[in-house]
Structure formats: C-alpha cells, structure tokens
Symmetry: D2
Subunit: 193 residues, 4 copies
Amino acid sequence: MTRQEVRSVVLAKLLGPTQPGDTVWDIGAGLGTVSVEIAVLRPHLEVVAVEQAPARLAFLRENRQRFGAYNIRVVEGTASEVLQAEAQRPRLVFVGGSGGRLPEILTAVTDRLEEGGRLVASFVTLEHLALTLQHLRQAQWPVEVAEIQVARSDVIAGLTGLKPQRGVFLVRADRPGSPAAPQIPDEGERVQA
Amino acid sequence: MTRQEVRSVVLAKLLGPTQPGDTVWDIGAGLGTVSVEIAVLRPHLEVVAVEQAPARLAFLRENRQRFGAYNIRVVEGTASEVLQAEAQRPRLVFVGGSGGRLPEILTAVTDRLEEGGRLVASFVTLEHLALTLQHLRQAQWPVEVAEIQVARSDVIAGLTGLKPQRGVFLVRADRPGSPAAPQIPDEGERVQA
Amino acid sequence: MTRQEVRSVVLAKLLGPTQPGDTVWDIGAGLGTVSVEIAVLRPHLEVVAVEQAPARLAFLRENRQRFGAYNIRVVEGTASEVLQAEAQRPRLVFVGGSGGRLPEILTAVTDRLEEGGRLVASFVTLEHLALTLQHLRQAQWPVEVAEIQVARSDVIAGLTGLKPQRGVFLVRADRPGSPAAPQIPDEGERVQA
Amino acid sequence: MTRQEVRSVVLAKLLGPTQPGDTVWDIGAGLGTVSVEIAVLRPHLEVVAVEQAPARLAFLRENRQRFGAYNIRVVEGTASEVLQAEAQRPRLVFVGGSGGRLPEILTAVTDRLEEGGRLVASFVTLEHLALTLQHLRQAQWPVEVAEIQVARSDVIAGLTGLKPQRGVFLVRADRPGSPAAPQIPDEGERVQA
C-alpha cells in the first residue's frame, strides 16, 4: 500500500495542472490507494485502474464505491493487454506495482505512451529500479529519480520517537517528442524566486 | 523555499477534501510556494498569505500574479497582529516560516484556531521543532510528527547519484473540540484495505 | 540495543587513538553492546559499564564473559551515584540509555567530566535530544549532532529491498578547558586532502 | 572522500577481530582515508592500498607519512594487474573507488578472493550498485546491502539544522567455501541478548 506522504509526492510528480477530460493510467493499481487519491482530488480527470489479481480487484472496486470515486474505470488484465487494446494512447501513466511482469509493463508503456507524455513509477527493490533505469535509458527518455524517506512519530516511554517507513524510489520520465496535448508543467518548478 | 516533494506532503497533511469557500492561512508565507500550490490546485479555496518582510512580500505578490493565483489574499504583518484582527477564526493554518517569532506565532495560533481546526508546521531546526512540540503538548493538542527526507538524482561521472535535500520535520496538530465546520478527514488514512 | 552500524559510528566519535590505560564510561550500558565492542576492539582500554536494572546487569555480565571482555568493569548503580563515588574524573563518557533519569545523568556528567574530556550520547526521542542540547548549551560546551539512518537489505519477492532501522541522533560534546590527558583528536577529521 | 561515519561502518563490516599479520586490500584507495583509518586503528594489520591515478597516489603517500601509517603498502596499478601479480590471495578486500573499471575490478576480486574471504564495497551511484549486485549474484556469493545516511548539525539563524551528506550504499559479500584462515565473525552480530 502506498502511504499518504509518498502518494502525495507521486501525484505532484505525475500531474501538472491537468485539463478536464484528461486520463490517468494506474498500472498495477493494487487496492487503489493512488487511483482513489487522484480521483477524489481531481474530480475532472478519468482514472483507469489496471489490475490483474482478482483479490485486489475486489478491494479496488470496493474502494471506488466507498469513496464515491466514480471517475475511476477499473480494468481487469495485464498492462500490455490493456494498453494495446485501448484506442487512445495514454498521456499520464503511474506504475505502482508490477506483479512480476515489469519488463512487459515497461515495454507496453514505452510502446504506447504519447509523445510528450509522462511516466511515474515507484519501487521498493533495487533490481526493479535498476531494470527501469536501464530500459528508459535505452529508450532515451530523460529520467529523474527521487528517493523519499518518511518517519512518523510514535511513542517511546511516553516520548516522541520517529518510526521509519520503508523508503521508496520514484522514477519519472517524459517521452520526448511534441505532444498532442499541451506539455505537462512540473509542479515542483512552478514557483521560483 | 519549500521544495516540490515536501510541499505536496504539506498539502496532503493540511487539507482533507475541502469545501468551496474554505480559507487556508499560510503564516510566514515567504515567496509563496505553498500558497501558490494550494491556490492553483484548489481554486475553490481562499488562501491568506501572511508575511512581514517587505522583500518577500514583493516576490509573493509577483508569484500570485504570475500564476494567476488570485484566490490568494496577501496580508502584510505579523501572525499575531493579523490573526487577532481577523473577524473569522481560522480553521486551517500552515506555518512555514517564523522570522524569529515562533513563540508569538504559536500563541496566536493556539489562541485563535477554531475548535476542530488543524495546524501544520514545517521545521528545519531542532530547537523550533522542540519548542513547538512543548507548546502543543501544554495546549494538550494531539500531535503527529513526520520527518521527510528526499534525495534527487544527479549525474556522477555519467551515472545516477542521489543528492540529498535537507530533511524537514512536519508537525500536525488538531485542536480538540467540536468543530463548527465538518471535521477534516486525514487524506492519508482515507483508503484502507 | 545499539546496532552494528550505529555502534561503530559511536566508537569513531568517542575515541581518538586512545592511550593504553585510558578509561571509557558507558552510562546506561544496557546489554553491553557498546561496552563489549569497545573492550574487544581496544583491549588496552578499561571500560566501566554502569547499569542499574538488575535484569540488564545479568545480561551485561554474561556478555562480558562470553566475549572474554575482561577489561569491562561492571558497576551497579545510577550514573550520579557512581560518578560521584569515583576518585578519578572520567575523560570519555558514552550515554546510551537513561532509564528515565536523563537530567540527573547530564548533571553528573557535566559535573564530573574532565576538562578536555568528551561526551557522546545517543537518542531515539526528540525530547531527550532537545533536553540534552539545552543542557549542554547552558554548560557552554561545543556540541555536534549527527543523525544516522541505516537501512539493511531484506528480500521482497526474491529481490533486494531496503528495510529501514530506527534512526539515531548522536550528540558529541567536548568540555572546554585544558585537559590533563592529551586532547582527543577527531578520527573523522584525521585525513584531509 | 569517505567521511568519518561511513568509514567506521565500513571497518565494522569488513573486519572481525582480525589476527596479527592479516592483510586488508583497499582497491581504488583514493586519498587513503579508509587505508589510514584501518592502519592506525589496527596496527597489527598490513594494508595494501591500490591506486592508479598519479595525483591520488601522491596524496595517499603523503597521508601514509603524515599519520605514521607505515603498515600501509602503496601499490600503483589497476586492481586486476595487482591482484593477479600477488602470490597470496587476498582475504579482506575493500573497494571504495573504481575509476571507471568496476567490471574488471569485480572480475579480479571474484577470481582471486580466498574461500571464506570478504568483500566490502561502497557506492554512490545506482548503476554501480546494480552492476555489483548482479555480478555477485552470478558468482552466487551471499550479499548484504546497507544504505547509510548521515546528516551533521550546522547553524541556521543561530539554531541547529541537520545538513545531509550524500548517502552511501555498502555491499558486503562473503565468498563461500571453507577458508584457510578462520572465518570472519560479523562484528555486528557479536552481541545478542
């Protein structure tokens, strides 16, 4: 499950000030934590949540219902099946889980992502991080990595400790080429003195 | 300047799914990075940016203009002056900078924040963190601390290094008591499996 | 328990190239992890391990035996009792645990530490860290803080994850004044290009 | 340059309670920070510092002199040349720098390290970390990774900030097989309650 702090960084990296009608793909959506967050905070977007594991799909659908996140479209299947089948090429893709099929997912995304589109992916293992960097380097997409570490307070003998959560590596890559849609500004760089 | 990653965590901690017309106070707004982020991402909110340093006020106003963030109201003065003068008690307060007046700001906030309202504050020094925890403990407000550390990729001999940014401590406290407005749900805990 | 990585940093901060016959105090020695490490790696030193909790004392004595660390002298009691009773003022003190008596320990150490002597203390709570910084600032001892965070690899679905350990704050302070013994060089600064 | 805190963790990972006469190899010794630390703290060991860059060799020799670390043998050349030429196979190897020849160094080390011997290597880039993990996995050596992050206090407006140093990934691997010399105990696991 993607935790609050990391989830909000994912959103900031993935989304510029999006347009009504934009679509965001959440590949390996799991329980839907990221999908629901995007859907609720940006009600004018469509979120396509792709998941193949039946158990997680059930939770995903339940969470969609529970938070009234009806702008989520839940799609069952693997990334490559789903992305190939889709008429419209995606512009904004988040990969949060790979279910052991990372190479296939990366191939599907580098195949189908629109020119000027953006991929954000989160990793907790060194091998998946390395594989992705290598794949994107071969595709010659400019890449930024961020390592995010969060510790939250807990109570130690009545005092305030800091309990660390597992760190997350976030990879962001923009596909080169002129976009059909307007380019995605980086929220992070919006304000400069 | 508050960086992208930290800024997005601040927003997630401060704001639940806010209502149109809600007001957010940004005390010690500095260049306005947090104010602009809130104002642009949540156009239905009013942001009151309080700053006393003339040089920063100029940048703040420029950034408001530049990003069309007209839902920011820039107020010149110290937190205590401004919060006392304001007819309506604040419900959502972010303290990002203290200009050496932290005790005074904390007093003003614990005086004026609405029952059920929320304070989020960010710190880069151990003394300010400690002072705030002590103040809020005396006020008996429940407190959560998070330490956020981010490293962003840079290039080392053609390879990918991770350059650390200064870590930030975020303090979040909710004033006890029944709120006039509906209580602020915690975005972070919204989705559970 | 102090983990390997942190323990070795503690040693580096506490000990310069010590002289045969030097004595190191380990206040709140707990199970003796730090005492044993010093005693084994520096067999020419005497380590005085002070602990008051009977259960921990038993482990401490067992570990002393088990690792043949006979240059550890185990002393039962509180820091202030023990340090007052000792004829010779300490020159090298490590505080790893406080058993709820931190103010008393700090008073005993600032009372008794030799001029030019060194204190290293480790903390996992913000309050103890803040209290110590305040105490040492009042004593006007120069202070250095280091925050150490370590994650060790674990296995996630056959791949390499990084499981974070709780971070530790290390405080190091040197008592001003001309030392009887030669001053403690900082291992960290020994080599410069 | 390897900083104090990281250097002490390297030593703890590399060295168990070594025997007089043991030899430690420091491949890509750079300015000699790790070599000098080992040589001074463990005067009964021989340290072989391998470096190929003439400018760094000069510093290395100077540091050897300056700290009286005469148990350092400075060897000019690449790891593979030097390790092949050496009659005795190494038992303890530290790789701190690769000068762009990491694959070659790894091949030399996996070729020549004694059965039961230990390799510790430090990295600041994701690619070198990944390459090493892959190489050692193919060699079927058990591997442990640790990520070490240190922030040291600095002064911000008269208060105590925490300035982060670049994080370091440490890889430790033990070559399987029965050692000629007694096996290297892990300092980290020596004390357990």
